[in-house]
Symmetry: C2
Subunit: 164 residues, 2 copies
DNA sequence: ACAAACAATATGAAATTTCATATAGTTTCG
DNA sequence: CGAAACTATATGAAATTTCATATTGTTTGT
């Protein structure tokens, strides 16, 4: 029996209780996402961006000229929120919006040189941070993490598609 | 440039590009967390709770009488935000706050009968939903997901501890 | 070609979140 | 003991987010 304390609670910060939450998949996902992102997100903020802005930047670095709706999905933000984030980023000169000549409802978003420069600075930092994380998981089950997550995402997308 | 497709874009909703983001661990974690939670969080809202409130409820179902700070960590919310969420939940009669007799700075939070009843309704629903998710991943790499996430969390906590 | 249905983005207004800091209680140590 | 340092929670004020819906543009069916 390692710790059958009669104390009311543990003093280890997270309040390590066995319970439901600690083994609940949605908690593990959210907590892991939070914890894993924390350090890098601090760098993002030092670079003058908030997290959703960084996400937009990264998405655009991958796919310049994306539509608002696509960006919202990819950057995990609700559409009206994304519209305003894009507006702010445009004000700061990181990107420009142009309506799609082929379909006037669509607004396409393009990085400016300044935005591209910022992306060129942050993406490698993100990759470096990711490498450090993977390194940290070495020997453990790190190698299985990404494939498992992709698998989950794929399954969920399939499900979504079936449901409309 | 890497992108030699002549098409302006893909039409599959997520804008499936190879790119950086799609294979980036922090994106996979955040996206998986989001997507996996979506359905259940809809149920939570139908039960009249917002997501952070549900988290608080679940945490308290595990560890009644937790402190604000502990709850904030566990429910993945910033302290001042949690304070206000707790206040709202108290107004709704889901929980009560009592200051710790042993240390007057601490506020301990206890579920009321009403709160406990709600938890007793939602926790099994969460478990059922989780089971469905795990089921969905069957044959895939589902079995490895939780251990991998726990491993990541453990590694990150260790790291945090080292850094203070 | 027209109206209805649909799709993409924008926006007002209320609610929430954040950030910095205030407040209150506790521990440390000279 | 008493002051300084610290810890836990609360709060004001600005900024952001959400929700519902408006606006604008496109497609479909007749």
């Amino acid at each position: 029996m390692t710790q059958q304390s009669t104390k009311t609670e543990r003093e280890d910060g997270t309040g390590q209780v066995p319970g439901f939450v600690s083994d609940y998949l949605l908690y593990l996902l959210a907590a892991a996402s939070d914890a894993a992102s924390a350090q890098f997100h601090a760098k993002v903020r030092k670079a003058g961006l908030r997290v959703p802005e960084w996400r937009v930047l990264a998405c655009l670095a991958d796919t310049d000229g994306a539509m608002i709706t696509q960006l919202a999905k990819r950057a995990l933000a609700e559409q009206s929120r994304l519209t305003r984030i894009i507006a702010q980023m445009e004000d700061r000169g990181l990107l420009v919006r142009r309506s799609d000549p082929a379909d006037g409802r669509r607004v396409r978003v393009y990085l400016t040189d300044s935005g591209r420069a910022l992306a060129a600075e942050l993406v490698p930092q993100a990759q470096k941070h990711e490498a450090a994380l993977m390194e940290m998981l070495h020997g453990n089950r790190g190698a299985q993490l990404k494939p498992a997550l992709k698998s989950l995402l794929a399954a969920l997308e399939t499900q979504e598609d079936r449901q409309g």
